[in-house]
């Protein structure tokens, strides 16, 4: 799902959130001194380290804009969101918001287990700053969206976690704040409800409201945002076009080749190459392209019955594809001196991503490695972008009907 008017010109829109030069540090107490006694004993010792969660962050979110914040754990995403809601105050700099904010930091955070769903709707909405009359007008919509039905008059403590989350989301999204701040909460709930939430967010966007979303799901972020802010170590690493930022982000998050090498070296690789079918060595391949992996080896003394293999690994170290001469029934009774083993792959099946190549020579029982070079070479695969997932597959789609 992609928002329809993603290219809407926001440059002239009024500012919804103005973040200027914001820094925020936390004191990481070595041992949290919360009793007076310890405080007195450690009077002069500074029992904490300063941790800068955010450093000089400038950001302007326009009205009607959807901005996603991505970044690795501890990069300051959630802190920035908390500062926007005023749950915390920055050490320096300022944050100004124009309009009513509702934050989805934790669905149903304000729910009281002993109150009914109905009572909690009013309580939760007033925590978000909305009046009884405002809630009266949208009460039915909240209940309907939450799919709670008659459960609405049960105590919340009897709800399943799914019901809890649905009610929480339903209140926050239906009270119609001007600015909606969302922290990872879309990761909860079943898929049907998630789809419903996305649809609601879509409506929210179309009605010209502002959304700031913190997420680990950068693909989702790219789909629904006008711009993406990439935070790293509390600083703005990049801010701009969702597709570009997410691409850079993906590239940076990939592991670098480790290049571990081990084995007895009774068979030793002298050179390993990976090329396309014309013999050209490349860093980027297209899905469906053919590749050739050549292992040039040297065995000082004769070796009986060796196995040669290769494998592709993804950035998380998972093997995507691997094969060897034993699996492919190519007997090599004995090697001595120099030689070459060639793996020809006519169609690379992987979709977008960075992949690593490992090669190995070992005994048939795999008890002894002669030479293993682990993920020493990497290449990127680019796909035409027609499919999603890990692999490209042939697929024919037919349609019949009216």
């Amino acid at each position: 799902m992609r928002i329809k008017d993603i290219d809407r010109d926001l440059s002239k829109a009024p500012v919804a959130l103005q973040v200027s030069g914001v820094s925020k540090s936390f004191r990481l107490y070595r041992d949290l001194n919360l009793s007076l006694k310890e405080k007195v004993i450690n009077w002069r010792k500074r029992g904490y380290d300063l941790f800068w969660a955010l450093r000089d962050v400038d950001l302007e979110v326009k009205q009607g804009e959807t901005l996603s914040i991505i970044g690795p754990n501890g990069s300051g995403k959630s802190t920035l969101l908390r500062l926007m809601t005023r749950i915390m105050v920055p050490d320096s700099g300022s944050i100004r918001a124009n309009g009513k904010i509702a934050a989805l930091l934790d669905l149903g955070a304000g729910f009281h287990p002993d109150l009914t769903g109905r009572e909690n709707i009013y309580l939760n909405a007033s925590i978000l700053g909305f009046t009884r009359r405002e809630v009266d007008a949208i009460y039915d919509r909240i209940v309907e969206f939450s799919e709670l039905g008659d459960f609405i008059d049960n105590q919340v403590k009897n709800y399943s976690s799914g019901m809890y989350v649905r009610l929480g989301f339903s209140v926050a999204i239906n009270v119609q704040p001007d600015i909606l701040l969302i922290d990872e909460v879309l990761a909860v709930g079943d898929e049907a409800f998630q789809a419903k939430c996305l649809q609601k967010i879509n409506e929210f966007q179309e009605s010209g409201r502002t959304i700031v979303l913190v997420t680990h799901n950068s693909d989702l972020a790219a789909q629904i945002s006008h711009r993406i802010l990439w935070l790293e170590h509390g600083r703005v690493k990049s801010l701009g076009d969702p597709v570009e930022v997410v691409q850079d982000y993906h590239a940076a998050m990939r592991v670098h080749p480790k290049g571990d090498e081990f084995g007895t070296r009774e068979i030793r690789f002298t050179e390993v190459t990976m090329t396309d079918e014309r013999g050209e060595s490349k860093k980027v391949y297209r899905t469906g392209e053919g590749v050739v992996v050549r292992l040039h080896y040297e065995a000082a003394r004769p070796v009986e019955d060796p196995i040669f293999g290769m494998g592709f690994y993804d950035h998380q170290g998972q093997m995507v594809f691997g094969t060897n001469t034993r699996l492919r029934d190519l007997p090599i009774p004995r090697v001595e001196g120099r030689g070459t083993v060639e793996f020809r792959i006519p169609h690379l099946a992987m979709l977008d991503g960075r992949y690593f190549l490992s090669v190995a020579a070992h005994t048939r029982d795999h008890q002894t490695d002669y030479h293993w070079i682990d993920k020493f070479l990497y290449f990127d695969v680019e796909s035409p972008g027609r499919d999603a997932g890990y692999l490209s597959m042939d697929c024919e789609i037919r349609w019949s009907g009216g």
Partner: protein, 276 residues
């Protein structure tokens, strides 16, 4: 700074509905799932009444000090004291105990302690109504000063609010405060003429210690309650002690506590989420 204060007061006004809802929640939830429910709010002071009536009225013969309707004398003091002590005990930890909310949602934090004061005040007013009904039932003549009851409650509530703003904010940084408050309340109770007539204390203390004893703002508030609710006419003159200076001092102190406490609370509020 004045603009900031005005802005935060305006914000508090915007969140009055939340204050009401939280108060209502507190009232609803307190006796939920208990069989006697709201009756507990009456049973508690009644048991206190019986205990103190036996101890002071019968064993220590306080009644002989010229206190007619001693049970009602006791009750007017106990209810007022309970309002103070319940409100304090519940609101001191209010910010800390609502940590989930504080960390996840923004709203003016003073709403939390205030809602507990509201809930304690609600119970207090109901108890007073029941007390008055009993006084009428037992044909205890009421005082015309009863009309001043709202003013007494106002004075007491502002004193409570002032205390609570300081203590609840302080408690976020030093959890000792909530434990300290429990002990403080116990000691304070005996330093205040709730169950004994003030003449007992004044007769026993040298002049300089009397002065210190009368610096206790709660003493003046309780004396006022005994004056307007219980009706001073039933009491020996030596047991009714109404000092205009004491009352004015209490009012000034409350005002100072509330306004400075509010400023302190607001200045620390931004760091609450980090310390919980």
């Amino acid at each position: 700074m004045r603009a900031e204060v005005r802005e935060s007061l305006r914000e508090l006004a915007r969140y009055r509905e939340l204050l009401l809802n939280l108060t209502r929640k507190e009232i609803k939830v307190k006796y939920k799932n208990s069989f006697l429910g709201f009756l507990w709010s009456l049973i508690n002071p009644l048991v206190m009444l019986v205990v103190f009536y036996v101890a002071f009225g019968i064993i220590f013969r306080v009644r002989s000090e010229g206190i007619a309707f001693y049970a009602f004398f006791l009750m007017s003091g106990i209810l007022a004291w309970n309002f103070f002590s319940n409100a304090l005990a519940m609101s001191v930890a209010s910010v800390v105990n609502n940590g989930v909310l504080v960390k996840k949602i923004y709203f003016p934090r003073e709403v939390l302690p205030l809602s507990y004061i509201g809930s304690a005040g609600f119970h207090f007013l109901l108890q007073e109504l029941v007390l008055l009904a009993f006084m009428l039932g037992f044909r205890v003549p009421l005082s015309p000063w009863l009309a001043a009851f709202p003013l007494v409650v106002l004075l007491q509530t502002s004193f409570i609010t002032g205390m609570v703003l300081w203590l609840s904010a302080f408690n976020v940084f030093f959890r000792d405060v909530q434990h300290f408050t429990e002990i403080l309340l116990m000691a304070w109770f005996w330093m205040t003429p709730v169950v004994y007539p003030i003449s007992y204390m004044l007769n026993a203390l040298p002049a300089w210690a009397q002065k210190i004893y009368l610096l206790n703002p709660m003493a003046h508030i309780i004396l006022l309650h005994q004056y307007v609710v219980y009706n001073a006419a039933h009491n020996a003159p030596s047991n009714t002690y109404i000092s205009p200076y004491g009352i004015a001092g209490t009012a000034l102190l409350s005002l100072a506590l509330v306004s400075l406490g509010y400023l302190y609370f607001k200045s620390k509020e931004g760091r609450f989420a980090e310390f919980i």
